[in-house]
Symmetry: C2
Subunit: 128 residues, 2 copies
């Protein structure tokens, strides 16, 4: 399922993060989506998510680049679970940070996929 | 978030699996839900899911017992991503199989949570 339409959607969102196009980035989220900023800290709704994304960009001194590796998409009930390697280059470290992320998308009434849960920490949240 | 209402929902589904109450078990799924039977093999819709659950019960010689360990729930956009330890006792092995599962639930119009994606393999699907 690596050629799923969500691959293009996620790649476009990654470009928006790398270019710090936060207006564009917010278009990918459902109104009441939740972003896991870090284990134990969640941002819900576009306003909180945007602030968190801006803070993350500042934290990484505007050097953050995001890209995706292997992916699996499981669709069911107008939602999709995406299991994906997320590769973060921060400029601070020589080797990138690689996480196994879990994203939930839901299909809007217009047929567009919107991100409802953005959890780049995947199942490692259980280590908390 | 371990006291989330979904904890009771999932515990009730686990009881249905252990008791082989497949009629009851199907009540937990959305009509067009997807179950990851094993990496690479998906069952979609209640008819396929029921057949897969019956085959799994037979495979484990009707000795399968399912229970859950630690859990995290992330709600967003009328959906919830559940990250959970799933503990399978099969009767064949002395020690249980422990997986880190990822489940997606969506809230129905009546306010009930229904399982849309049932992936007990979590991010290990990327090892495929």
């Amino acid at each position: 399922m690596s050629d799923h339409e969500l691959k293009q959607v996620i790649e476009a969102a990654d470009r928006a993060i790398t270019e710090e196009d936060f207006d564009g980035l917010m278009e990918f989220y459902a109104e009441d989506a939740t972003l896991v900023v870090r284990p134990g800290l969640y941002a819900t709704g576009k306003e909180q998510i945007r602030k968190a994304c801006e803070a993350i960009a500042t934290h990484f001194k505007n050097q953050l680049k995001v890209r995706q590796g292997r992916m699996q998409v499981i669709e069911g009930g107008d939602t999709a679970l995406v299991i994906m390697e997320t590769i973060l280059e921060t400029g601070e470290r020589e080797s990138p940070i690689v996480r196994r992320a879990t994203y939930v998308f839901r299909k809007s009434d217009s047929g567009r996929w919107l991100c409802a849960v953005d959890n780049s920490y995947g199942t490692s949240l259980l280590d908390e």
